[in-house]
């Protein structure tokens, strides 16, 4: 029957509208007024309700299940370019590599600069080059996970592409999400990018040693973060000296 059927489990409703723009021939008057006959074109409304973000979410769930099966905890580290994501992960790997079997996945448009930096700690690393894509997605992470021997790991850091917007929209399957901001991004970085803080479990305010030079009030940044998401944990760090990294370890429950 025209207009009925199944697509993605959703019933399809036919409307049989006669659209004036379609040039549907009108029957000649036979004394009872014009009779409109739909010959060539019929219009149907198809109801779908399909999420455009669902494909990524499904893959993220698969990633999570795979990680759980191997007892690996994954942490997605997000933040702007230059916020200190790699420096923070480097500090964390240094402190944690004797207690956990750690690996690292680096997401960047190009280069292996970050992967090389973390590889110096002697842990397995996988570089994902996204080409021109502004965020990691669950599919890319799934590919990276296939390159790792998950059975021999406990802890995985996934460094997202430097960006405060897009990564928030694409969960990867990680157990925790961390967003790193630095005082060098100025006093308005949180209020201008509130949504990523809604998605994160921990916010790290980095480069606190530069706060006086930048004229940034770290307390105000922290208050902005908590205003957006009262449930988020906040840690202050200077990853260059390692100050505050222990707080991050505690906040992550590691």
């Amino acid at each position: 029957m025209p207009g009925s059927g199944e697509l993605g489990g959703k019933a399809i409703k036919a409307l049989y509208l006669l659209h004036p723009a379609l040039g549907i021939p009108r029957g000649k008057s036979k004394g009872v007024g014009d009779v409109v006959v739909a010959e060539e074109g019929e219009i149907f409304d198809i109801e779908l309700e399909e999420s455009l973000l669902e494909a990524n979410r499904r893959l993220a769930e698969q990633n999570r299940a795979l990680l759980d099966r191997h007892g690996v905890r994954a942490i997605d580290v997000m933040g702007s370019v230059g916020a200190g994501k790699t420096s923070l992960i480097s500090c964390l790997v240094e402190r944690l590599k004797d207690r956990y079997r750690v690996a690292y996945v680096a997401g960047d448009l190009t280069t292996t600069i970050d992967a090389d930096a973390i590889a110096r700690h002697g842990v397995p690393v996988v570089q994902i080059n996204t080409g021109k894509e502004c965020h990691l997605d669950a599919n890319l992470v799934a590919k990276a996970l296939r390159r790792l021997d998950l059975a021999s790991l406990d802890l995985l850091f996934i460094e997202n592409v430097g960006n405060l917007i897009c990564p928030a929209e694409f969960p990867l399957g990680a157990h925790q999400r961390v967003v790193v901001v630095s005082v060098a991004e100025g006093p308005y970085v949180v209020v201008k990018h509130p949504y990523i803080f809604m998605e994160a479990d921990l916010a790290v305010v980095n480069k606190v040693d530069l706060a006086p030079a930048m004229g940034v009030d770290v307390g105000k940044l922290e208050a902005d973060i908590r205003a957006v998401n009262p449930a988020i944990k906040v840690a202050r760090t200077c990853c260059r000296t390692g100050e505050g990294v222990e707080e991050v370890v505690k906040a992550l429950g590691l």
């Binding site: 059927g5 739909a38 219009i43 399909e50 973000l53 929209e169 694409f170």
Partner: protein, 136 residues
């Protein structure tokens, strides 16, 4: 920039549905974008148009419905729009996950997603010589 990814998902889903339905042409694609999703309407429409060129979807009108964000509070049972903090220091309204009634942390229950709602397609009417049901 991630609208490219979302628009590609939209294009793929819409094209598949239109083909399955034997559409001759797609007249309208209706999408619901949540207030709390990070999808920019204009960029979505731009990329969708680009993908649609030379396909069944070319020329289809993309109708974007706006779905307001809604939160629910596990502590006091509040359900309603996401609150905004009025910060006089910045002259702005900052969205917050704090419950406007009791101050607890709320859960987002609506407005986070981005959905393909429906298609309006033009389809050639089945003719008797092609079989009464006009399908394969």
């Amino acid at each position: 920039m991630h609208e490219l990814t979302v628009a590609k998902a939209l294009f793929d889903l819409a094209l598949r549905a239109a083909e399955q339905e034997g559409a001759e042409r797609v007249l309208e694609v209706r999408v619901a974008v949540g207030e709390l999703s990070l999808v920019n309407h204009e960029q979505l429409a731009f990329w969708f148009r680009e993908f649609s060129r030379g396909t069944l979807l070319e020329g289809a009108e993309l109708v974007i419905e706006w779905v307001p964000g809604e939160v629910s509070c596990p502590s006091c049972g509040y359900r309603g729009p996401l609150s905004l903090v009025d910060d006089p220091a910045y002259h702005l309204l900052l969205p917050t996950l704090r419950c406007p009634r009791c101050g607890s942390v709320v859960r987002v229950v609506r407005g986070r997603d981005c959905l393909l709602k429906s298609l309006r397609i033009l389809k050639r009417a089945s003719r008797p010589e092609e079989g009464a049901h006009g399908r394969g």
